[in-house]
Structure formats: structure tokens, C-alpha cells
């Protein structure tokens, strides 16, 4: 029994192994929200990894979560990339959030979904890029796995937004966002190094 379980763990990379194989991260980046940092296992966003953000519909404040981090990265002269955003990233609002627009690269939605995965992979591997935000038309565990490897190779942060439920996603951190009266409800569905399922409500002024 144990042997076959071991074999299964070894052969299937999609199988999440929880805390048993968890090595604590050396580094993490503050999310800019104290309540959120308190419940994240590393005390902030992990680096060199991908984070999956699930929403029911766009416009509930999913980008607000990242603006302060994007501002910090761009001021450190690192590149940010937005791939296939479903709306025009609006320059005046981004300036207001403190983002240096000359460090923000935007790649338009592509006809071929394969190109989205390909460009995200290339940019995550690049040393000059700190963060890649990707709006995925259809989450694919295999693709996410590939990008996870790319992110750890380039020590950059990949953030995926999508609106469809995805089973068996290998992303080490998965968040479900919902709009609420106070602002944003964040449900941490999965976090490497933590068994507990947390829910945080952030007061996001939009």
C-alpha cells in the first residue's frame, strides 16, 4: 500500500503533497496589507512562484491587491508585464497607484492561446522582469506547472487571473476573491505550508 502510494506521488507531478515536503521559504514580499500578511504562510507573497487568483467576474478589485507591489517593483527599475488583460490598463489610474509606466509592458490578448503561455514563460524566466500578470482564458494545470518552473528559474512572481474553476491546479498559492460590503473577501484555498483555510476581508478603497 505504502509503496504504491509512493509510486503515485513520484509519478504524478500534479499531486499536491501538502506540508510533508514543505521547506520554508527564505524570502517573501509584503503584500502591503497587514491582515493578509498575517495569514499567508510566509508572512507575505512567496517569491519565485506563481499565484492563482480566481474571481467570478472582473472588476471586483482583483488588481487592487497588486498595485502597491507593482509600484514598488517599478520604482526599483524592474519590469512588470501584463499579458492579455481583458480591459485597457488605464494609464492615469496606474500613475495614481505609483506605478512607473515606463516599466510596464503590456501584451495584447492573442488569437492563439498558446502564445499567452509561451510569452508568459519567456518573461517569467527573464531576470529583468519582476512580475507577470496573466489573464488566462482557460486555466490548464499543465501550463500552470510549466509557468511555475519558469517563475522559480527567473525568481519572479507570476499572477494568474481567471474566472473558471480549475481542478488540480499545481499553483502553490490559490486565492478566491469575492466582492463584499467592506471591500474584498479573500479566501485562501490553498497555500503551500499551511493546512488551515483562512478568509480575510480587506478594506480596499477603489
Amino acid at each position: 500500500m505504502n509503496q504504491s502510494l509512493d509510486a503515485l506521488i513520484r509519478s504524478n507531478p500534479l499531486l499536491w503533497q501538502g506540508a510533508s515536503r514543505f521547506e520554508p521559504h527564505d524570502e517573501s514580499i509584503s503584500s502591503g496589507f497587514e491582515e493578509l500578511d498575517a495569514v499567508l504562510p510566509d508572512g507575505g507573497w512567496p517569491t519565485g512562484t506563481v499565484i492563482e487568483i480566481m474571481v467570478d467576474n472582473w472588476g471586483i478589485g482583483e488588481l487592487q491587491l497588486w498595485l502597491s507591489l507593482m509600484a514598488r517593483f517599478s520604482q526599483q527599475d524592474k519590469w512588470l508585464t501584463m499579458i492579455a488583460p481583458p480591459y485597457v490598463p488605464y494609464a492615469p489610474a496606474l500613475i495614481n497607484a505609483g506605478i512607473q509606466l515606463d516599466r510596464l509592458l503590456i501584451i495584447d490578448a492573442m488569437v492563439n492561446a498558446q502564445d499567452i503561455w509561451w510569452s508568459a514563460d519567456k518573461i517569467l524566466r527573464a531576470q529583468a522582469s519582476a512580475m507577470v500578470l496573466v489573464w488566462l482564458p482557460k486555466p490548464d494545470p499543465r501550463g500552470i506547472r510549466r509557468l511555475q518552473l519558469a517563475a522559480s528559474a527567473g525568481n519572479s512572481l507570476g499572477v494568474f487571473f481567471h474566472r473558471q474553476p480549475c481542478t488540480g491546479s499545481p499553483a502553490p498559492l490559490r486565492l478566491q476573491l469575492r466582492a463584499c460590503e467592506q471591500g474584498l473577501d479573500i479566501d485562501i484555498i490553498k497555500a503551500r505550508g499551511s493546512w488551515q483555510r483562512h478568509t480575510v476581508t480587506l478594506n480596499i478603497q477603489t
Binding site: 488588481l63 487592487q64 485597457v88 515606463d102 495584447d108 519567456k122 466582492a179
Partner: protein
Amino acid sequence: MNANLNIAPKFTPAEFESYVEPAAENLSTTEHIWLCICFPELALQIPAREQGMPFAVIEQQKNRHVIYAACNIAQSQGITPGMPLNAAYALCRNLRVCMRDATFERKKLEQLTRQAAHFTPSIALQEPDALLMEVSSSLKLFGGMEKLQNHVRDTFPEYDFSLSVAPTPTAAWLLAHNGLEKTIIDKASLKSVLGEIALIDTGLSMKLVEGLSKSGLYTLRDLWRLPRDGLARRFGVSLLEFLDRACAIQPDLRRVFIPGVRFKVELELLVHSDSAHLLLIALGKLLEQAEEFLRSHDAMTDTLNIELWHDHSTHTPLPIRLQKAARQAEHFLSIITERLDHLTLPHTVERVTLRIDQVLPYAEPHADLFDKRESDKQDWQQLTELIKARIGNEKIYCVQTIADHRPERAWQYCSIGKTHNNSNTQTWIKTLHRPTGLLSQAQPIAADRKKLKFITNAERIEGGWWDDNDVCRDYYVAVSAKGSRWWVYRDLKQDNRWYLHGLFT
């Protein structure tokens, strides 16, 4: 002598010495030696020419055609340059003629500079048909004047030419142009050698030559016998200057011709194929040659012209333009790989050509051992180029703000690295509440309107008559039924209807 000494401070010491003591000057390396090669038949080297037939090139002169140059066969029948065309036809019925093409001659001459560049880097063009080469510094390398001349003669086996050497370019050209193959090193003997040249063959204007001949002056020697001041008064200073330049009394400066650097290679494919893999192998070979060429010229390029030939007449062009010039074959190849993936070829390819028309001087990327930023920047540029090559130039960009109160006009696309930071605009924007996502086209929301919960008061945005895009809208932030924060407006100018314009994402 006194007058000369007065201006002495303008000379460098070495020049001053050689100036005051002309007797002591030797053939030192600082003295220039000009070698002139004159190709009298250059105009006849037209590719369409029929071999074995009398052939002449004509030019238009005051409403009539005259012979500009004639081949040996035509000349043996009595046809000479300057003869009217109808007179030439009278002498030779089957004469083939062709209009003179000055740009062709110039091109041909420029091609010849390539071979001439083996001997010296200082080459000047003497249009229409001669090359001037400054060879004083090449003598040692080629083992003396005689051996150098032999080398030069062997370089142009397919042309008839005359070659002469003189201390000034004008003198060298005068000798070569008149077929006098002489080597003159000593400035003092210039006058006596050039003296016998007829004025009509000196390249002076016809009007001037006619005027001189009316005074009984036919050769250069005749002019040298005349007093200088009188000659200048009657025939102009420019004639005197021409004579002085020929005899090295006045400096004779020439503009050095710098050939345009071009590169073209082609490769015949052994197997006619449209497989990207085989094409990449072929292109890889060509790109390696290109890199070698660029390295040897200490250059780089931002444009590669690749053509995939399907047969003799049809080809698919594959131009590669880079944001930043490079010369590494590897970098070019990675971009071409992406381009090939998206290219559909109508037929199999039998030949591949690669052309570089323009090169830039190579600039070493600034490499600092402790500063990784610069090399990251290089990598980033190469990466964005790679992405551009795959998904298209227009799909990858940056955005910037513009000072305009209308939301859809307050931003703009811009190419990477060209973002303009307008600090005035930025302070003004800080006072505004704007959504992070804007719809490229505002959407009408007639049905959803009733379910919206408004959370701000109206912000009136109005005006724009000056560019025919007048607006009058009341903007609100509202929460939709599904919890999204919308930026909606009511169009007060046109139809009073409600529109969704942005999302507070």
C-alpha cells in the same frame, strides 16, 4: 622670404623646415604619392552590349546626339568621341549605340574601389572614369613602386586602363587621362612632363579652351611660359589655381571615398523543402557568415533582408527589423525561428539569400562586473524583440498619459522605451478618481441600470468642441448586481442613455 617668415607661426615646425629649405627635401613618407588609374572604356562596359559588333555610347549635346565613347572596332572604322551620331552612322552602318548612363558608370567606378582598397585606404573618385589612390604609405608593404604598380595592373585584368604616378592627384590624372603611363616622384620635373599635354585634354571647360586657343595657347607648356598675373587677369584665377594644383604649388585636396558596406550571401538548398527545420539550418550558416562579416567590419546591424526563393522569379520576403542593432548569429536565429513559425510558404524553397544593406558602427554593450542591470537590460531587449517577432509588433507596447480631460483620450499606446513622463499631467491626475481598467468602447447598460447601486456623486466631464469630439457626461462609480465596481456615465449630449466605461479592478 621675409613674407614667408612672417606667417611662420601658422606652420608646424616640420612643415616650416621643409617649406624654407625645399632643396633639402627628400622623398619622405609624409610626401604624398598619387597613383591614378583611368578606365577610358568604362562607359562601354554596359552588360547589354553585343560582343564583336561596333559599339558606341552616345550622349545628348544641344539637341543632337554625339559619340561619347566608342569601342575598338568602331574606332578602327573612324568613329571618334565627339563625332555627331549621323556622321558615325555614315561611317559604319551596323553601329550599335546606347545612351550614356552616368549613374551606371559611377556605380561601376565604386565597385572598382573595392579592388583598389587592397592597396590603400585613401581612394578618391575622379569622375567619370578614374580612380586616385594615395599610395605613399603602401610602398613599403608592397616592396616598392614598381612591384606595387605590377600588383595594381594584375588586379584589373578585365579592363583596359592607363596607370600613372605623380606627387599630386591632378597631375596623376592628367597623365593617366592622356594615356601617358609615367611615374613621376619629383615635383620639380612635373612641369616639363605635363607640358606636352594639349589643353583640350585637361578637363578644362570647352569655352575656356577655345578662348585660350584663340590666343595661340594649345598646350600646358604654353601656359607655363606666360606671366601669372596676366593669365589670372585674362582667364580667371581658377585656371591659375588648376595649374598650381597640378604642380604642387597649391595643396590639392581630395575627398576620400568611403565605400558603403554591404553584404549578400545566398545558399542553394540541396533538398527543396518548406520544412522550418531545414530552412533554419541553412539560415544559420548564412547568419554565421553575416556575423563574421559584421565582426570584420566592426559593425552591427538592425535590418536583415532575407528572401526565400521558390524558383527564379518568385520569393517570400522575410525582413527582420530589430529594435536594437546586434551582430550575434544566435540572436538573429532565435528571432527568425519565431518568424518562421508564423510564416506559411506557398511553395518549397530552393534558395535562400541574406542581405545586409546598412551597418552601424559596433557599440560594445557596457559591461560592468558588478552591475548586472546593464546585461539584464540587453537580455530584456532581446526578449521583447523575440516576442514581437512571434506575436506581431503592434501587440506589445507600453502606455502613457496625455493631458486631456476626456477619459478615452487621457492615455495612449507607445512603443517600448518611448514612454513620456509628463510631470504636469501626473500632478493633475492625482486629484482624479479613475478606474484601473477602461473599456476600449463604452457599452450601453440599459437593462442593468436599475440594478446598479451608486456610491459616488456625479463627476461632470464636458467639452472638446475644438477637435470635434465634444462630450458632456456625468460619471458615477456604481456597484453592479454581481459586486463589480463600475465606472458608468450618462451621456447628456446625445441620447441621455447610460454607458459602462471602466472597471475598478
